[in-house]
């Protein structure tokens, strides 16, 4: 069950991973995008950190909402509204259930609605979908997440900036799938599925 404590720890770890990997994320984004995914995510996570620090004794809903608003207003690229929508959906539904399997399902539905992407389009949906499916079966481990992100390499992009490259987008990892991989690695490390 998700608690404010776990979510705070999760965001702390995600902030650290983005700080470490921001150059790599932007590098991934260079051949098939606009080369700014790492910097955008860093700006977003700085906003999340500042936003969470400002809260006083927040409940889970306020915590998710602060994360969503920071990502929506700070990221700048497509990742902002997509990750922002994911956390907004979790904020909307966390009174009903605190189970990650349920909340991530709402988040994934929100991401798909916002971006219009399906499985196989070479986007973060290709990571979020197996995560949600495996959480439902209590089988989520880091390897599942990493394998899903690596699986975007051979796909041809149908959505996002990479789609303008058509067939030429194959052979590159999707940066959004990789940042989602860090998000779920952080989630597992924070004790989210215990």
């Amino acid at each position: 069950m998700l608690t404010v404590e776990i979510v705070n720890k999760w965001m702390e770890l995600f902030y650290e991973k983005i700080s470490e990997k921001k150059a790599y994320l932007s590098e991934l984004d260079t051949p098939i995008g606009d080369g700014d995914h790492g910097n955008n995510m860093m700006r977003g996570m700085q906003g999340v950190k500042d936003g969470l620090e400002k809260l006083e004794n927040p409940d889970l809903k306020e915590t998710f909402k602060a994360i969503a608003m920071a990502l929506i207003s700070k990221v700048g690229g497509a990742a902002g509204p997509l990750y922002g929508t994911a956390f907004l959906e979790m904020a909307k539904n966390c009174e009903e259930s605190q189970a990650p399997a349920d909340l991530f399902r709402y988040a994934l539905d929100g991401i798909k609605k916002r971006g219009g992407a399906s499985v196989g389009d070479k986007t973060l949906v290709d990571v979020w979908t197996p995560v949600v499916d495996n959480l439902g079966k209590d089988e989520l481990v880091v390897e599942v997440v990493q394998k899903a992100a690596e699986g975007t390499k051979n796909l041809v992009a149908k959505k996002g900036r990479a789609s303008y490259l058509g067939e030429r987008s194959a052979g590159h990892l999707d940066p959004g799938a990789v940042s989602s991989c860090y998000l779920f690695e952080s989630f597992i490390e924070a004790g989210g599925i215990k």
Partner: protein
Amino acid sequence: MKKEYGIVIVSHVPEVAQGIPKLLEQVAKNVSITFAGGTDDNEIGTSANKIMEAFESNEAKKLLAFYDLGSAKMNLELAMEMSEKKVNLYDTALVEGAYTAATLLEADVLLKDIEQQLEALKIK
């Protein structure tokens, strides 16, 4: 007296968003046109907050919105969910779509007829 419908332009680039209304104003002096370009820090990108401001500062209560690339549409939709105004979003080529709408709004053409003409400019 401004027209019933206004136009909102959203681009990743502040200068692009700023420039397009200049082109439209030549043919649509009575249409309220507002814009949102770049992120909150004026970097390349889009901002749901800036788009909200463009909705609110538009003199019209009903808006036609045009945008350039992917994330602009997502931020537009987020802003639409937060705004009280009635916003119609068009997946047309940005400049041509907005110019067509401006010209027709100035000429008091009905929205349904404008939309029919915009259909041909849909590229996204």
